[in-house]
C-alpha cells in the first residue's frame, strides 16, 4: 500500500500524465451522456412533468399525442382532458416559430398551478424560450393559421415537447382556438387509473412515442455504448502497458522474495487512486458544465449514470493492471529478471 503511494508521489510526472488522459476519456463519456440525457429529457419534458400514470389516446394514434383525437365530453370520471397540438407562431418581424400547445382544465390537478389563474386568451410559455426570444409577460403572440392572439401571463420551466417550446393554456382558450379551426377535439384523457375503451398508454410509452424520440435515443445509446466500450478498452490497455513496463522491476522483486500480493496491492492502490482522481475531476467538470451551460443547450447531469460509468471504467482499469501480474506469478522468477542471463 505504502509502496504504491510512494511510487505515485515520486513519479509525479508520469502519473499526472496518465491522470490527465484518463480524465479526458471519462470526461468525453460523461459529456456525451449528459447531452444524450439532456436531449431525452428535453424531448419529453412537458409529458414527463405531468404527475399521472396513464394516458388514453384514440386507437389509431399509435401513442402519439398530436395524432390522437377524442371528444372532450367523453372524458372518464376522475380523468382530465389534455389537448396537444402544434401551433405556428407569427412574430412581429415576419418570422415564425413552431410551438406545441398543451391545454388542461383550469381546475387541473396535474398541469402547472398557474393555469388556475389564467384568463381566457392567456397563455404560459416555456421559460427558456421566453428568455431566448426576449419575450416578456404581457406580450402578445399570434397564431399564424387562425390569426388568433394570446397574451403571455407567465412562464413554466421545462416546458418542452419534441424539442419545441410548449404553450400552456386552459381548456376554455383551447376550445375557442379549436373552433376557429373548425374542430372540437382533445388529444388524451389523463389520470392515475383510467376506465375507458380507448387505447391506454403508460407515461413512458407516450414519451417514447414523441416524434423523433426513439430514433434520437437509439443513436445516442449506440454512441454511449461504443464510447464506454472504447474508453474501457483504452484504459485497460493503458494500465496493462503501465504494468508491462515494470515487468523487469517486478521480476527482480519476485527474485528477492517479495510476495506477488505485495506488488499487486501496490498496483491496485495506484490504479484506484489515479482513476478515482480522474473520475472525480471529470464528474466535477461535467456537473459545473451542466450548471453553467446556456439554457438553449439541453444537458443533464445524472449521478446514477455517472457513477455507473465510473465504476465500469475503474474496474476495467484495475483489470488491465492486474492481468500482467498474473504473468509475474506464473513466471519462473529467473526468467523475469533478465539481469542474471549470460
Amino acid at each position: 500500500m505504502k509502496l504504491g503511494w510512494k511510487e505515485l508521489v515520486r513519479m509525479k510526472g508520469r502519473f499526472s500524465w496518465m491522470t490527465i488522459v484518463t480524465m479526458l476519456i471519462v470526461l468525453l463519456i460523461l459529456m456525451i451522456t449528459g447531452l444524450a440525457d439532456g436531449l431525452a429529457y428535453d424531448n419529453g419534458a412537458a409529458v414527463r412533468n405531468l404527475p399521472v400514470e396513464q394516458f388514453a389516446l384514440s386507437k389509431d394514434a399509435e401513442g402519439q399525442l398530436t395524432r390522437s383525437f377524442l371528444q372532450a365530453d367523453e372524458t372518464p370520471k376522475g380523468a382530465e382532458a389534455l389537448g396537444v397540438q402544434n401551433m405556428v407562431l407569427e412574430k412581429k418581424n415576419g418570422t415564425k416559430d413552431d410551438v406545441t400547445v398543451f391545454a388542461l382544465p383550469e381546475t387541473t390537478n396535474y398541469g402547472p398551478k398557474q393555469l388556475q389563474s389564467l384568463q381566457k386568451g392567456e397563455v404560459l410559455v416555456d421559460a427558456a424560450y421566453a428568455e431566448q426570444r426576449g419575450t416578456r409577460v404581457g406580450d402578445t403572440i399570434t397564431d399564424f393559421r387562425t390569426k388568433k392572439t394570446f397574451r403571455i401571463a407567465g412562464t413554466v420551466t421545462d416546458g418542452r415537447y419534441s424539442h419545441a417550446p410548449v404553450l400552456w393554456m386552459t381548456d376554455e382558450s383551447w376550445q375557442a382556438w379549436q373552433s376557429k379551426m373548425g374542430a372540437s377535439y382533445v388529444s388524451a384523457y389523463i389520470g392515475q387509473s383510467l376506465q375507458t375503451d380507448q387505447a391506454v398508454f403508460s407515461k413512458q410509452a407516450v414519451i417514447e412515442n414523441v416524434p423523433g424520440y426513439a430514433a434520437e435515443q437509439n443513436s445516442f445509446q449506440m454512441m454511449r455504448v461504443a464510447l464506454v466500450v472504447i474508453g474501457a478498452l483504452i484504459l485497460t490497455a493503458f494500465f496493462y502497458i503501465l504494468t508491462m513496463q515494470k515487468m523487469k522491476q517486478l521480476g527482480v522483486l519476485k527474485a528477492i522474495g517479495i510476495r506477488t500480493r505485495t506488488m499487486g496491492t501496490s498496483l491496485l492502490v495506484q490504479v484506484m487512486l489515479l482513476t478515482s482522481l480522474a473520475f472525480g475531476v471529470s464528474v466535477a467538470i461535467t456537473y459545473l458544465t451542466s450548471r453553467f451551460l446556456p439554457t438553449d443547450l439541453p444537458f443533464r447531469f445524472e449521478w446514477s449514470t455517472s457513477l455507473m460509468y465510473g465504476g465500469i471504467l475503474i474496474a476495467t482499469a484495475m483489470l488491465g493492471a492486474l492481468v500482467p501480474l498474473r504473468m509475474v506469478k506464473k513466471l519462473e522468477a529467473a526468467d523475469a529478471m533478465g539481469g542474471m542471463n549470460g
Binding site: 528477492i256 522474495g257 519462473e332 539481469g339 542474471m340 549470460g342
Partner: protein, 213 residues
Amino acid sequence: MIQLERIEQSYGEMTVLHDINLQAEAGELIALVGPSGSGKSTLLQLLGLLQTPTNGAVYFNGTCVSEASDAERRRLRLEEVGFIFQESHLVPFLTAREQLELVAKEAGRTVDAVAALAMFGLEHRKDHLPHALSGGERQRIAIARAFVNDPQLVLADEPTASLDYTNGRRVMELLQQQAHESNKTIIVITHDERMLDVCDRIWRIEDGKIQTA
C-alpha cells in the same frame, strides 16, 4: 550449508548443466568462473532457488528444497538468500533506507536500516533516490539490501562488472569481510581474474561441467 547433488539442467534438447556435485560451507567466499554460456548463471539460479533442476537435488542446511513449493522457495529467498545482480536493480522510487526496509518488512522484521547502510559507508546517502547516486553507491546499497535479512547464503552475479577497479575491489572486500566475520556463504560469479585472490575457493565451470582444480 548448501549442497548440489547430481544436478542436471536442460532446456528442451539443450543440456546446460551435467552432473554437478558441489558443496559450500558457512564462512566461505567462493568465486564461480567460466566463459560465457558455460552455465554459471544457471547454476547460480539453482543455488538461489530461482529455478528447479531438471534432475538432481538441492539441499539447504540438509533439507531438500528442489521439490519445495513456490511459496516456500519464495520465503527462503526472502529470509535466507541475498541476491546481488550485475546492475544494482534497486527500486527506482525508493530511497536507500526504504530499499532495505521494504525487504525487511516483507520478511516481518524490523531493522535499523540506517545502521545497516552505515556498515557499507552509506549512512549519508540514506534519503537519496537511486538516480541521485553513483554506480558504486548503488551497488553497495544493493549489497546492503542483500544482507538486510541476515541471510545464510548470498549470491552475486558479476557484482563488479559495472564498476571500475577500485570500486569493484571495494565491493569484493566487503563480501569477503561479510563471509568471514558474519559466517555467511557467499558465491560470486566474476570475469575479473584480479578479484580471485580475495576468494577462499574457486569453482571453474566449462560446458556445463565443473573442472576440478
